[in-house]
């Protein structure tokens, strides 16, 4: 995963053998395949643009690779029937690609790639060209399929939600470099760099300085947090996730890490209400209030809020 232009598709094409890396080696099961042509890599690939053979029917598209392998006709029919059932394309076997919707075409492309039982599968932004509903349905179908067939799959995407829901492991790329490798949980909760923090989900990134042991300061505010890995006086970036910032009712005693702020803008996102606040010192923050805690009377523009954040929810990045 990565922003557009970060080199993720280039990396995929290198794995596929359609591009050759200027340096380095590619290994598959311990064997170097850096200079092997695509046909000898035993991989299935699905492109964003489907790339189905327009003059062949759905059946012939799926059977294409098997015909190349010179399978017997009835064996091919059996295999294609299986895939057609697996990808719920039953009533479309005789149709041509131009008669199918985008989601159906991408399913055919998936079936065609899987037909030859490749040892791994490469997906180049397979869902980007589809509309939101089809995308989320096909997303879970791809995951189910991958789990059922137990096939190693590398998927390229710029959509963090897609990556988080589909992946066992995410490699986050930026400007041709790996920013972080980890599980979706690690990537979100333990981001290695401010870039990762910003790319995954919504974040408040603030410039600060370590004022004293276990204390970070910015804009005349001091917050308590774990500063063991940074020495006093170094400049740092703070990450405050909007959902980690909580509102404190005025009646309660002032907690540690208190921030006084006024509401500037409210966005209703469904499960949460994203509140844009400005602290008394002029700092802009995003705060998520869950639907359950949201009180239209108290949470309105220009109303004052008392906010707090737990010390262990603050992440620091050295600069």
């Amino acid at each position: 995963m990565g922003p557009s232009g970060c080199g993720k598709t280039t990396l995929l094409l290198c794995l596929a053998g359609l591009e050759s890396p200027s340096s380095g080696e590619i290994y598959k099961n311990g064997h170097v395949i850096t200079s092997a042509p695509p046909s000898q890599r035993d991989v299935g690939i699905v492109f964003q643009s489907y790339a189905l053979f327009p003059n062949l029917s759905v059946y012939d598209n799926i059977a294409f690779g098997l015909v190349n392998l010179k399978w017997a006709k009835d064996k091919i029919r059996e295999a294609v029937r299986g895939l057609v059932g697996l990808l719920s394309l039953e009533s479309h076997e005789e149709k041509y690609p131009s008669q199918l919707s985008g989601g159906q075409q991408q399913r055919v492309a998936l079936a065609r790639a899987l037909a030859v039982s490749p040892s791994f599968l490469l997906l180049d932004e397979p869902l980007s060209a589809l509309d939101a509903q089809v995308r989320s349905r096909l997303r879970s179908e791809i995951r189910d399929l991958q789990q059922r067939l137990k096939i190693t799959t590398v998927m390229v995407t710029h959509d963090q939600e897609e990556a988080q829901t589909l992946a066992d492991r995410i490699i986050l790329l930026n400007e041709g470099r790996i920013e972080q490798i980890g599980t979706p949980w690690q990537i979100y909760n333990e981001p290695a760099t401010p870039f990762v923090a910003d790319f995954m989900g919504v974040s408040n990134l603030i410039q600060g300085v370590i004022g004293a042991p276990n204390q970070v300061s910015f804009d005349q505010i001091s917050l308590l947090c774990d500063t063991q890995r940074h020495s006093v006086g170094t400049k740092v970036q703070l990450l405050l996730r909007p959902e980690d910032i909580t509102c404190v009712s005025p009646s309660r005693n002032a907690p540690t890490n208190l921030l006084e702020a006024a509401i500037a803008k409210i966005e209703y996102l469904g499960a949460v209400v994203r509140t844009h606040v400005v602290t008394d010192t002029g700092l802009k923050l995003k705060v998520d209030i869950s639907k359950r805690d949201f009180d239209p009377a108290r949470h309105a523009v220009a109303q004052r809020l008392r906010l707090t954040i737990a010390s262990n929810d603050i992440r620091l990045f050295a600069q």
């Binding site: 596929a16 695509p38 690939i45 643009s49 690779g65 190349n68 690609p97 075409q105 030859v116």
Partner: protein, 341 residues
Amino acid sequence: MSAQSLKGLNAFLFVHSKPQLMERSDWLVRWVCLAYCVSAMCTIVLPVGALFLRSFNNADGSFVGLQNYLTYFNTSALFDSFFNSLIVSLVTATLVVPMAFAYAYGLLRTCMPFKPFFRGVALIPLLIPGVLKAIALVYLFGNQGLLREWLFGHPLYGPIGIVGASVIWTFPFAVLIMLTALQHVDHRLYHAAAFLKTSVWRTFWHVTWPSCRYGVTTAFLVVTVSVFTDFGIAKVIGGDFRVLATDIYKEVIGQQNFQMGAVISVMLLIPAFVVFLLERQVAGKQMAQFTGRSLPYTPKPWFGAMAYFWGGASPSRFLLPACWSWRSLRPWLSFGPTTLT
């Protein structure tokens, strides 16, 4: 034309329109279209129609039905030239199209060196009229030619010469069409084929060929019709070999047999109609080639019509009625090529 009759004309021409919703530019477009319809009428329908009618008249201008056609089909010398033309043009197309395909394929799909040079060499003949190529062939292979022996004693003047010169003349057109057709192929399809371990032959047959089939057919039709109707090459290098284009010249200019000239001209129109029908057929099939992602462009009706007429109104369309009207005036004029006798 009064305002009232203009309104009436508009109502007649544009039945489906809602005048109160029309912009000024819409009116402009419609009047331009009307102008082009009229010009197309004058420059295509009338001359061809007149020609067609003339083929049913005798020398005095009275109606004789199919008499001229019967004469034509019963005169084997005349009828043979139809087949001569057909064979020469089909042979030329059969030679040129594979050559052009291979040439364009080489230019686009290989890493051969000096590509711009080869592209230029193939296309430069576009600037030279066909007749000059025939003359060049005469210099090379004619009775006094440098390379006369290469024909193993066969005479240049005749079908060999016509086909040779026509091949040289039509090759660049075919190359141009093939270049466009081959550029059209989706590159990802080759990648997909490669991953499925597809043989070179099967890739060609299932990826390259379906995508450029239309181009190949178009090139074949263009070459066939060009050669079929060409006059210059046949005149210069044809010798005693009769083709339709030279026959018309002989009938009209040589023997002043206008009605037979008209019959031959109608025969000359046949391949144009066949090509028109074939082209529509192939284009219809080609539509199925587009996938859901690449939709073909469909022009809006009126602008489309305008573009059609605009494209059709080449200067030759205006020359045609000029010639035709001059020919009609001939009886009242005392000069011209047909009064030399």
